[in-house]
């Protein structure tokens, strides 16, 4: 038998227009804890989805060897049969079912299709004991905390006779005690039950603490694998591996012409709309000047979108407090339309589900936020609307057959240009751009960067949220680093680097 329980050989996975994984190799030794680290979008989750059969055999190139044998998974069931279980960041538990029911979901303890509740509860209790869960098996999932829910997921994995357990950001939503508890459990399961683990995490300190090997992925390729006690696995070393890429000239040049402060937010506090005790934005203050492009960097879930949307007419969050000052005057946005009327625009990160009316044509999408400007006594001037659409199609170089083309039939880049047109036409002074280049190809990205530069040159203030660090570094005059709802760093263009940004995030995470 091979020393490696798992070998993933030259895995390549492409999505339309994007190479998500490019010849990735991953070797996991039997009985170890193997960490997988990398930036957002580096390809970690895609790799794990390939491994667990979410992307079936034939959908990717390369081989998966389990104990030296090639596997061809068609779906998750196939991989689970061989003992590979993945626990996703978003837990897959059903809130209104009990712990026991969830543990055996899809794997029910039944005789002749009739569930034996005695057996279910007995076996559930056993598994729960193993993972240190002291509740009764008939407690509903919604009544226990996230930490315990995570334990239920692990118990569920154990019920499937797991050999290789994959955890995607298991501690992202947990507090310190729960995190420590979970990590201890993993080490325990690893040592005493011989379960091999792959853990994906942004928290470098916990990775250092528990893993035997660390594989770093960047831009869809394996960079290196560091071995504990042999290689240097210091924070700096890992960060360098994660971000150390060459920055080529992917960003159009811009002469910054920065004026006075145009928009300022002070002491901004926002609570979660679903859980009003959970603070999402914690006392954030920032400002942006005329003609300035300010970036917000941070990991997924840092609260960047929540911050932007809560400012944009309270489109997100509850119990919002803080001050907004625009052009030296305090303003309040109680609704989105008020924010728009005051010259603020927010470009959503999800253009398909929240940016466009996909079944409508380009013309109607462009005019949607600015209908007031082309109507009189509530009657839309369709001639004017047509002129506007034609103007923006030309100005932003939207590739389409006519302006009557439905936006659902446009490419991602052109769809984004339509949404940007909508906001430019609304006539804002301050634009909050949330992931303006997500999921579009390199050429269209360059065009969108040029549009952003053009807007800044016209004296507008741009706030740009992006998970792509090179983009933030290449485009912004100033960068705020956000982590767990707080501003944990403010960097000038000169001092900003990927290492610095990551450093800010990791230092603040470790402090907690």
């Amino acid at each position: 038998m091979s020393e490696n329980i798992l070998e993933m050989v030259n895995i390549t996975k492409t999505f339309p227009g994007v190479k998500a994984l490019d010849n990735v190799n991953l070797n996991v030794k039997n009985g170890e804890i193997h960490a997988l680290v990398g930036e957002n979008g580096a390809g970690k989750s895609t790799l794990m989805n390939v491994l667990s059969g979410i992307y079936p055999y034939g959908d990717y190139i390369g081989d998966i060897l389990l104990n030296g044998e090639i596997c061809k998974f068609k779906n998750i069931k196939d991989s689970e049969k061989l003992g590979i279980v993945i626990i996703h960041q978003e837990l897959a538990l059903i809130p209104y079912m009990t712990i026991a029911e969830n543990i055996f979901l899809g794997n029910e303890r039944a005789r002749n299709k009739v569930i034996s509740w005695e057996e279910t509860n007995r076996q559930a209790s056993k598994l729960m004991q193993k993972v240190g869960l002291n509740d009764k098996p008939d407690v509903l999932i919604k009544d226990i905390g996230v930490g315990k829910q995570q334990l239920v997921e692990i118990a569920k994995a154990l019920s499937k006779d797991v050999k290789l357990l994959i955890l995607d950001e298991p501690t992202a939503a947990l507090n310190d005690d729960d995190s420590d508890n979970l990590l201890r459990l993993l080490v325990d399961l690893n040592k005493n039950n011989g379960i091999t683990c792959i853990i994906i995490s942004h928290k470098i300190n916990e990775i250092k603490q528990i893993s035997d090997q660390i594989t770093i992925i960047r831009d869809g390729s394996t960079i290196e694998t560091l071995v504990k006690d042999i290689d240097d696995i210091s924070e700096n070393r890992i960060i360098k591996g994660m971000v150390g890429r060459e920055l080529v000239d992917r960003f159009p040049k811009r002469e910054s012409n920065i004026g006075e402060i145009a928009f300022e937010v002070k002491d901004w506090v926002v609570y979660d709309p679903l859980d009003e005790d959970r603070i999402r934005i914690d006392n954030v203050s920032f400002n942006v000047r005329r003609g300035e492009v300010v970036g917000f960097s941070g990991l997924m879930g840092a609260g960047r979108t929540e911050l932007a949307m809560s400012i944009f007419g309270k489109a997100y969050g509850k119990k919002i407090s803080g001050t907004i000052i625009k052009d030296g005057r305090e303003v309040q946005f109680h609704s989105v339309s008020q924010a728009i009327d005051n010259g603020v625009a927010y470009l959503t990160e999800d253009r398909k589900s929240a940016g466009l009316v996909l079944i409508d044509d380009i013309r109607r999408n462009v005019s949607l936020a600015g209908l007031k400007k082309i109507s009189k006594n509530f009657v839309v001037n369709e001639h004017r609307e047509t002129e506007v659409a034609l103007e923006y199609i030309k100005k932003l170089n939207i590739k389409c057959s006519t302006m009557f083309q439905k936006t659902e039939n446009l490419s991602g880049g052109n769809q984004q240009k339509v949404v940007i047109s909508k906001w430019i036409f609304a006539g804002p002074d301050v634009l909050l751009l949330d992931e303006p280049t997500r999921g579009i190809d390199v050429g269209a990205k360059y065009e969108i960067y040029s549009i952003i530069n053009q807007l800044a040159a016209e004296g507008k203030s741009i706030i740009m949220i992006s998970s792509e660090m090179p983009e933030i570094l290449g485009m912004c005059d100033r960068i705020y680093v956000l982590n767990e709802g707080k501003v944990v760093g403010e960097l000038d263009k000169e001092e900003a680097s990927q290492e610095n940004i990551m450093g800010c995030i990791i230092r603040s995470s470790n402090r907690n």
């Binding site: 944009f312 007419g313 489109a315 609704s335 989105v336 339309s337 924010a339 728009i340 009327d341 927010y346 959503t348 589900s353 929240a354 940016g355 466009l356 009316v357 996909l358 079944i359 409508d360 109607r364 949607l368 936020a369 209908l371 007031k372 109507s375 509530f378 009657v379 839309v380 369709e382 001639h383 047509t386 039939n409 909508k422 609304a426």
Partner: protein, 403 residues
């Protein structure tokens, strides 16, 4: 020979292109005409006799009015209102209360009843838009509540209404030109000619304006053909009515409502907001559209239209009755879906809802003339509804694959 063939070929391709591109728009009209022809044959020509054409209008007027309000709800994202039948009853009952029991002049009683309808709509709009209760549940509750209120007011009895109600629902425009003895209702003919002139004028004007602004306009012969066809249909229709009793009052009401609501949905900002809300509620909200307010007002509007339908129906019945309006909601909803509205929202037109309502109406009327049992009528109507929507879904999925 070869040349002629290419010519035919080109013409055929072009025609196919036009039909294909406007498939959904024309499909419903085509279905309406087909059903008309089928029943014209099956009823031995009774269907399109002047008497029966008038009857079709009288019989379906209230469903048409309800369908206009309902289609707005469906466009806004698959919302429906199950309570409209009960509101129809509630409004006719309150009319009886005001006009008969309290002795208020009929016109004022009508206005008060309309206000009652709007309040009923606002009540439901409040729960749906601001408390986030699914429309299905709120209007199901409304269906019970307003039916109960109707019975409470009428005490379970039937009350006869003043003359004005009957005039509105079943009366015709007086023929002050031809006089009461004329075989042909001359005012109706005049109205037809007047409408033709207005139509001709607006079409020409819009064409000129488009040309001046440098927009593409249809070819001259297409324009002439279309205009001639519309003018012919208007005049033929009016002539037909003139052969019977003449222009029904309720048809004027219907035309005004149709015009106003078509204008609102196509040309105005609030209309756009309804479509955007149904097309993508999140995107609409993030574009500054006050989605809750829109939802609230379209329900208030549904209340208003249900009240108008209630007054018309009470007039048609010549009474306020406890069972008035039962099942109207389903006819109105079916009319919208047959008329091409999409259950997922964002798609639909007032015109489509009207066509849908007429398809339902002709099915009802035609099958009754044929003496088909009421059981079979329900089965056939149900299958037509299912077939229409299935066809729509199918053609949509075809269109998606094509791109």
């Amino acid at each position: 020979m070869g040349k002629l063939q290419t010519l035919f070929r080109n013409g055929y391709d072009k025609a196919r292109g036009i039909v294909k591109n406007n498939m959904r728009q024309y499909a419903m009209l085509f279905a309406l005409i087909t059903i008309m022809i089928i029943f014209q044959i099956l009823t031995d020509g009774v269907l399109l006799k002047p008497r029966n054409v008038s009857k079709l209008i009288y019989q379906n007027s209230y469903i048409l009015i309800l369908a206009i309000g309902m289609v707005l709800l469906i466009i806004s994202g698959g919302n429906i209102d199950l309570s409209v039948g009960s509101i129809v009853a509630f409004v006719s009952a309150s009319s009886a209360l005001f006009a008969v029991v309290m002795g208020i002049p009929p016109v004022i009683a009508m206005v008060l009843s309309l206000i009652f309808g709007v309040l009923a709509g606002m009540w439901q709009g409040f729960w749906i838009a601001y408390v986030n209760i699914p429309s299905f549940i709120v209007t199901l509750a409304g269906m019970l509540v307003f039916r109960g209120l109707n019975n409470l007011i009428l005490n379970g009895e039937t009350v006869a209404l003043p003359e004005l109600y009957v005039k509105l629902a079943s009366g015709v425009v007086p023929d002050f030109i031809g006089g009461p003895d004329s075989n042909l209702h001359l005012v109706t003919i005049m109205v037809g000619l007047l409408l033709s002139a207005i139509y001709l004028f607006t079409m020409l004007w819009s064409r000129l304006r488009k040309k001046r602004n440098g927009f593409e306009v249809p070819r001259t012969y297409v324009f002439i053909l279309k205009t001639v066809a519309v003018v012919a249909i208007i005049n033929l229709f009016m002539y037909w009515l003139a052969l019977d009793d003449g222009l029904p009052n309720v048809l004027i009401l219907l035309t005004v409502l149709f015009g106003v609501y078509s204008f609102i949905t196509i040309k105005t900002v609030p209309g756009r907001h309804v479509y955007a809300l149904g097309g993508n509620a999140k995107a609409a909200a993030l574009s500054g559209i006050k989605t809750k307010r829109v939802l609230f007002w379209i329900y208030a509007n549904m209340g208003l239209l249900a009240a108008i339908a209630g007054i018309v129906f009470a007039g048609r019945l010549n009474a306020a009755a406890p069972t008035a309006g039962k099942g109207f909601e389903l006819d109105a909803i079916a009319a919208c879906f047959i008329g091409g509205a999409s259950a997922s929202g964002g798609v639909g037109t007032v015109m489509g809802a009207i066509i849908g309502a007429f398809i339902m109406g002709i099915l009802n009327n035609g099958m009754s003339i044929m003496g088909l049992s009421i059981f079979w009528q329900d089965i056939i109507k149900g299958l037509v509804l299912l077939g229409a929507v299935a066809f729509d879904v199918y053609s949509k999925s075809r269109a998606k694959k094509a791109t």
